[in-house]
């Protein structure tokens, strides 16, 4: 199984641990990745809020490059995934737009590929049974609140398949590695990450609600699959505690980090030490890690 890999900008910055852990887990499960040659930033909100053409041209450059590699695209960032997927669809459905964009980017682009998020590849292409078979240390008794946020649950296809209000992909993956996914009501609430720099107060209020709800439902950790959610929920915990007047201090980990742990992968490749709220105490307490490895 082989994919064209779109790492996305956060893989070189705040979300590096997500990219590294994903790469490690995919490799262990026999998924090959070929990085898209000379990929560029997807443009995210700044592009689609300011120029429709730019918001299509930027993802189109990377997708056209992947078309040359004749491989479907895998990406880990929920934001990049949603942009790439939307653009691919729009270009495929609109021949006039296809011609216009191909001219702008100086390359033929057909919108012919499938754009997959890493959760889809793991749960559907690799499959839950294959994952179960690869587990060495089941994460027994670890209560996790799977948090999908907005981007993963508002994709048009998710809306159509009725998965947008109560998705299960992450829950199923966590179940496959032996953890205990919780039934909780804030799976798809938005944490406000897009407003981090411009409306910080709103972001803190929204994040605080998510953190508090996870805590109230008895979660040991929040499990995420989006670098924006992770940074947002992890970084504002002191402010959220002040707002709620209670101690929250709940680790926000990437699902692949936990999968890697259960699969006994090299802890260095999982980068659990890069998270701000330290997950080590709980993981050590439950007997999944031996502290010294990480210190």
């Amino acid at each position: 199984m082989k994919f064209a890999y779109y790492p996305g900008c956060s893989s070189e910055g705040s979300g590096a641990e997500y990219a590294r852990a994903s790469e490690a887990v995919l490799e262990a499960l026999g998924v090959e990745l070929e990085e898209i040659d000379d990929w560029v930033c997807c443009g995210a909100t700044p592009a689609h809020a300011t120029s429709h053409l730019l918001s299509i041209a930027l993802p189109a450059i990377s997708c056209a490059s992947a078309e040359k590699q004749s491989l479907d695209i895998l990406t880990c960032c929920a934001c990049c995934h949603s942009r790439l997927k939307q653009v691919n669809q729009e270009v495929r459905d609109d021949p006039a737009l296809r011609a216009k964009i191909s001219e702008i980017i100086e390359e033929d682009y057909r919108g012919s590929l499938n754009i997959l998020h890493v959760t889809e590849v793991l749960a559907r292409e690799v499959g839950l049974e294959a994952i179960k078979a690869r587990v060495r240390t089941p994460l027994k008794g670890l209560k996790v609140a799977c948090y999908y946020g907005c981007l993963m649950s508002r994709m048009p296809e998710a809306l159509m398949s009725d998965k947008s209000e109560y998705p299960m992909l992450l829950d199923n993956l966590m179940d496959a590695v032996g953890a205990e996914p919780l039934d909780w009501p804030y799976k798809t609430e938005c944490c406000g990450a897009a407003l981090t720099l411009t409306q910080t107060k709103t972001v803190i209020r929204l994040s605080a609600d998510v953190l508090q709800m996870a805590k109230q439902n008895g979660a040991d950790m929040l499990v995420v699959a989006c670098p924006l959610c992770q940074a947002n929920l992890d970084i504002y915990q002191a402010e959220a505690e002040k707002l709620k007047g209670e101690r929250l201090s709940i680790p926000v980990v990437y699902f692949v980090q936990l999968m890697g742990l259960a699969m006994d992968l090299d802890p260095k490749r999982l980068c659990l030490d890069r998270l701000i709220v330290d997950p080590m105490p709980i993981l050590a307490q439950k007997g999944f890690v031996h502290g010294a490895v990480y210190l």
């Binding site: 910055g13 120029s51 429709h52 980017i105 709103t202």
Partner: protein
Amino acid sequence: MKTDLTDKALHSEFRQKVEALSGQNLSDCYQCGKCSGGCPVEPFVEVSPTRLIRMVQLGMEEEALNSDSVWHCAGCGTCNGRCPMGIDIVRVKDALRKLTKKIHYKRGSLEAWTFYEAFLDCVRNFGRLTEIGLMGGYNINSGWLMTNVKKAPWYLMRNKLGVSPHTIKRVDRLQRVFKRIEEIEGQ
């Protein structure tokens, strides 16, 4: 608020512009309020998504473009998911945000445009975004120097921010792409 319900107001040039930019037919909105019911920032804004759509329907350009709701939006798409008429409200908001650029409405748009421009400048010059460059550029240009930079030490301690900008190989092509789009959209 006094509203004008004449034919002229209902078929305003403003409404047509928003409909064209967003590709949405706003007559489809029957003001059910589901978009606002699901909106996470609705409790913090003066104008809900439902009211914002109404303002556009009624040609209330000034009020719509000046409302906090245009910028105070997480882009989460919950409104789209809930709308029984399948209206893409996020694209309507994108259209309004684009219109503020030419008109220079003050509320919120300055910070947001500064952020967007810092972000896209970084992409234009390097092909990829470096978060430290973005945070620095944004906070300095918007005069918000200390708001988020105080979080940077945490990030730096854990090597969270890629400090050196990574430049792609075909940056010249990328710059031609930006330029071409500017030319097309400037027309």
